[in-house]
């Protein structure tokens, strides 16, 4: 466990902070169109738009940690978004990068990065909300074209979008939940879904905004009446739409940076409670208010550290920070070896046998090599004046150690280092000296020490 960052990561964080100091000075009006246009150009030049995308398509080719650091720093400073084509950057782009043809990549990816226009997302239908795979928007192929008939709903920013990423049904279930025309019944409703990329100005598309509770409109109903889409606008194979969608949505790697936004909001909430009054004094002096805010803090910290745990799992395989932790490794190893050694001798033999068999013996030393290695390690690390190592594996034939894993050894050792130590302390020194051998090479050890 280590919360320190590597020097390279710290350097990148400094770079981001310096950029923010220069380009997002305090008091800047981050909502002004002129400011936003300039900002977008600058972050694009840094390749921070599509930061996680491969460099060959124009992205930043960033590591997971770099993405996290960039997002965190941006959130802390309440920076404007990195790029303006929100759905294009979030999942349309990743889906095209993964499943698109070279022509599709060339046609759409640069525009998404540059924020030339908006994309909207045609997933939900009136009868298919959480259960998205039950969608029924009908699509039939006619020559080089698909013909789409049906309805989508809750389509955010449909009225301002130039393109829609659309999920339609080309096979599988019909409206009664049956396979069409008595054809082969699909194994699941996830089959027979196809993904299309469709210009919103195509004939037959009608957008009807839905008025929301605030009186404004962000999402809409979208109707498709014999809408013709060239086959070249299909993303992925016919019937592969579910896979395209799921892997694109999974592209968002981690929520860790979003938590920074919540942390900032918590500070704003505290500030508000400091200024507001309740029962004649600052609201933040009220016990009830204080505890509610502290509860938010605990929930947010829980999310933050859950995110870090998940991130650590993602990063396994990538180099991890190792600034601390190693110094106590030897002591911990010795403790584990001691516990394990003890347990093995108290366990039921059959149990013992099964456990050891489960561990593959490959790559282990021969018994003679082990005896020699034990002796040299003890002489070298403990300055032992006399060491006798006896292989007793034969006494345990038929069970664990002799059969597969490490061997059973009896060690008699004399060293001036044992002077004044308790038996337990002396034995611990022996385990420490043998270090890694205790993991595989040595199955059980009987130790006699002399000062």
């Amino acid at each position: 466990m280590d919360f320190h960052f590597t020097p390279e990561e710290e350097a990148f964080r400094s770079e981001v902070r310096a950029f923010l100091d220069e380009n997002l000075p305090a008091g800047a009006n981050a909502n002004a169109p002129a400011f936003l246009a300039e900002w977008t150009q600058k972050v694009r030049a840094k390749r921070w738009v599509g930061f996680s995308w491969p460099k060959e398509v124009g992205g930043g080719g960033a590591s997971i940690m770099q993405q996290v650091i960039l997002k965190e720093e941006m959130a802390k400073r309440k920076a404007p978004p990195l790029g303006t084509c929100f759905m294009g950057l979030a999942w349309v782009g990743p889906a095209i990068i993964q499943y698109g043809t070279p022509a599709q990549k060339q046609r759409f990816i640069p525009d998404i990065l540059d924020g030339k226009y908006q994309w909207c997302t045609g997933y939900s239908e009136p009868a298919s909300g959480s259960d998205l795979a039950s969608l029924q928007c009908k699509c039939v192929r006619e020559g080089d074209e698909y013909v789409v008939n049906g309805q989508k709903i809750w389509t955010s920013i449909a009225m301002w979008s130039k393109w829609i990423i659309l999920l339609v049904r080309t096979g599988g279930l019909d409206s009664e939940g049956q396979a069409p025309g008595g054809a082969m019944r699909p194994a699941s409703k996830h089959e027979g879904i196809t993904c299309l990329l469709v210009p919103m100005d195509t004939k037959g598309i009608t957008v009807r905004p839905i008025k929301n509770m605030s009186g404004g409109s962000m999402f809409a109903e979208v109707f498709f009446d014999a809408v013709r889409v060239p086959v070249e606008n299909r993303l992925g194979e016919e019937g592969q739409g579910w896979q395209v969608t799921v892997s694109a949505l999974a592209h968002e790697r981690s929520s860790i940076a979003e938590v920074e936004g919540l942390r900032r909001k918590l500070e704003e909430l505290k500030e508000l409670a400091r200024k507001s009054r309740k029962n004649g004094r600052a609201a933040l002096e009220d016990d009830g208010i204080r505890r509610r805010i502290a509860r938010f803090e605990a929930k947010i910290e829980g999310m933050r550290f859950n995110g870090m745990r998940a991130l650590t799992k993602q990063l396994r395989g990538e180099p991890l920070g190792t600034r601390s932790g190693w110094r106590s490794l030897a002591a911990l190893r010795a403790l584990v070896a001691r516990s394990r050694n003890r347990r093995r001798h108290t366990e039921h033999p059959e149990e013992h046998h099964r456990r050891a068999r489960a561990r593959p013996p490959e790559g282990l030393m021969s018994t003679e090599d082990r005896v020699q290695r034990i002796e040299s390690l003890l002489r070298e690390k403990l300055g032992a004046t006399d060491v006798q190592v006896v292989d007793e594996s034969h006494k345990h034939r038929g069970h664990a150690g002799a059969a597969g894993g490490g061997g059973h050894f009896r060690v008699t050792i004399a060293s001036p280092r044992f002077a004044g130590l308790s038996l337990v302390q002396a034995q611990r020194l022996v385990y420490e000296a043998l270090g890694e051998m205790m993991t595989h090479e040595i199955h059980a050890l009987t130790i006699t020490t002399r000062g």
């Binding site: 280590d2 919360f3 502290a294 829980g302 001691r338």
Partner: protein
Amino acid sequence: MNFGFTEEQDLLRREVRKFLDAQCPLEEVRKLMETPDGFSRALWKQLGELGWLGLTIPEKQGGAGLGWVDLVVVLEEMGATLFPSPFLATTIAAAALREAGSDAQQARWLPSLADSSCIASLAFLEPSDRWDAAGVALAGRAQGKGVVLSGEKVQVLDAPSADLFVVAFRSGNAISLAVVERNAAGVTVEATPSIDQTRRVGRVRFENVAVAADAVLSEASEATLARVLDLATAAVTAEVLGAAGAALQITVNYAKQREQFGSPIGRFQGVKHPLAEMLVDVESAKSILYYAAWCLDERDPDAARAVSLAKAYASEAFARIGVDSVQLHGGVGYTWEYDPHLYLKRSKWARPAFGDSDFHYDRAISIGEQ
């Protein structure tokens, strides 16, 4: 950045779990909780031999010199099986000796704590029910170079079996710690009946107990005491979350196996959703606790806030999980035979122990304002 346990820590966890599964499963816990001692002396001795009692005790005092992150691993497992033993009490007392004792004082007492020959406990809480320095009223009157202690401590962990107490006392404005043997003249120990039979607590009275100068911990101050309480609170929280996770697991197992209306009850949203909420709470609190333990090991200034958030969250979560676990078991949840009540009772002990949610939420937000 690496927020995971090392392979060795995972191995240690497995060893502790195997040991407890083999030596002290819940059937054994039920037997032990009916005995006067409430724990097994034989297992206690083994904890010393295994080196677990010395886990966080410095190497030169016979321990392994490991940190609180390592300890969390062991305590989560002990909490999961409600392992009854003075391990927590002795580990906390050892932390007090280590933080506040001179080298000579550490050498005098710590080896006996590491090898199981001495059961020790921190005597802190008083009838004032305050888990901070201001709550300490037990008087230490100077006598020669030593002090004479008079006062009372309550909810002292494993007081009935403890051989040694580390006692917080007040001399005027100063707070300090003294080491007092159980059989010292003027010390009386009285077991306090507890709702949780797997956890023994007691009341300790000090009537003009003379303490020699060399038994007053030389480095004790309000700051070291605060750190000792943070270490203790983190340790308790680790045990709490191990227990909460186990209560959840028992309930999930039951929900998968118990059928009603022709289906396992775990398929019903009324059962599924509370279980999911429990999981989120346990994992979130664990995440905060792991961070807190790391901060304590690194002496990071964020430690106190993190410890308080973890304990506050864990106290509330375990209290809810204890009740929900009984509830979701239906009728059998109210029986002696099934295990949920054991965890519910532990949650009742755990909620106020080393500060309840209100105390720790108040503390966390106050630290944030500094």
